[in-house]
Amino acid sequence: MGAGIAQVAAQAGFETLLYDISQEFIDKGLGRIRSFLQGSRERGKITAEQEKQILDRLHSTTKLETFEGSDLIIEAVPEKLELKRDIFKQLDGICGPETLLATNTSSFSVTAIAANTQHPERVLGLHFFNPPPLMALVEVIQGDRTTAEAVDKATDLMRRMGKTPARAKDTPGFIVNRVARPFYNEALRILADGDATVETIDRIMRLAGNFRMGPFELMDLIGHDVNFAATESLYRSFLKIRGFAQAPFSTKWSWEEISEGRRGGVFTSMTRNSLAIIGANRLSQELLELSRGAGLKAVLLSDLAELTPTTPVVIETSSSHVEKKNRFSKSSI
């Protein structure tokens, strides 16, 4: 996310310094920014000249000391409290008290992160949303010891970076992660109670509630591990009040995802209206016509190699035992 935030800053005309622990990670981040900008240029959103200027404003370092004299430093390291604390302690020593130190945390208290610093009054939260170049919102979080001036200054900087700031106090989940919790959790509960199916709930929320995506589609997109962690963090932070308890099922799915290291596909694979048919025979042809007639997105594949890993439903029609075995054993692709 750090690269995305750096891109936003550089696009808004700020001289931007991107830090990571190794040049390899920096190059990865810069590579993402380059391909994003290239896409913007190809779609005519920015000129080649602007692209060059933005990239020229981006500098990189593997030494925290280089940040000395900066106006604002935004930290977006992995969500580990000790790691964040350590970085803030170091930055606190490197930068004078006029430098604003911000954390992009979504699950820790800003006050806790600022606890080790000499100047907690300039430490605050700037919570960006993914992907930062596209999402307008930034939650500006005032820690218990953050001054109003620091918050005003950061709010103003966010506006100048083209973002819409929303100020919030340092409370678990801030605004969005907290208020959005029932969208996922209550949907899971309705499903667990057997009151409605995944597809029904998603469609109702889209067509009756006018939400852009249903809760299950969205959970598939953001990842059940991420969603699980967000609920878990709120539950713990609110001292285990019932309102934030995990819904049944979520544990199972999130662990499946964590162990397999994959994102999404848990629900949409059950619901998405598309399928692939494998096998060159009359039955395949008829299935294809029937599915298309029913409004499904169906493709006929002659070879397993053409299959994309995300295809939700695959129908295999061969009558040969050997062929079946051959195909199913390769189904991991």
């Binding site: 949303f129 907290r178 208020v179 029932p182 029904t200 809760p215 019932r242």
Partner: protein, 300 residues
Amino acid sequence: MASWTAKPERIVGFATFYPLEDKKVIELAAGIRTAESAIQSAEQLFKSIGKETFRVKDTPGLTFPRILSLIINEAARSLEEGVATAEEIDVAMQLGVNYPHGPLRWADQIGLDEVLAVLEGLQRETGDDRYRPDAPFKEIGHRGFSRRDLRQRFLFIQRRSGETMKEAVIVEALRTPMGRHGGILKDVRTDDLGAYIIAKLIDKTGIDKEEIEDVYFGCTNQAGEDSRNIARNASLLAGLPYTIPGATVNRLCGSGLEAINQAGRAIQTDHGDLFVAGGVESMTRGPWVMAKPSNAFQRG
């Protein structure tokens, strides 16, 4: 509910929130003894008004109202705890997770009594504390606010939490022809003239008359046909319900403008969302004014 009826097989539940206009889907629920034919006719009925239906199980709030009520409850709780202002909570949810509306304004639009009903139903049926309505809802339940008060509940909190003023806009403007003194309009009563334009305005905008908070009219003569609060008399003649009040203001030549300014200020300070404001005057029909005798049998 079906258990109260003699023919429970014809009772079908449905859940949605006001307004229906933006809902493409309505959820239907069958009770234990609801007949299949009853569900089917309900489905047909909604289909005929252009709504798709989904069958879900009979639980408080079904799906959409249940999930949304909990989101609103959490937003209300955050507001009461002072996490952020109402405006910021709404903006954050719209821009951070692409919600179609901010949850607090959404609640004001739906009516807090509706949201409260879903939360209380869930709490009653499940016994689960997670559905406990937050403070502002309970206050509503206990005080028995009217619907109009309910709608503004979060706006009040918003004002308290120091949000900037609302913006007032002019939705539509109309004017009658102007006549010369003793000219073509000499036979039209002043109150009828005012009523005519109010009625046309409502026709043209298609607004719901019940939604009007107040009618402000400027008038300088205020004697004879335009006396005794012409704003009120013209509204009644225009067919506005008697429940919509009216007030007449006088700043002589600036009276109509004053009425519009007053309505604008009322909107900015959250005293209402929709006002009719204007002015009316007929110099032709203004009565002669003669002083009354100072006592019953004037001498000389």
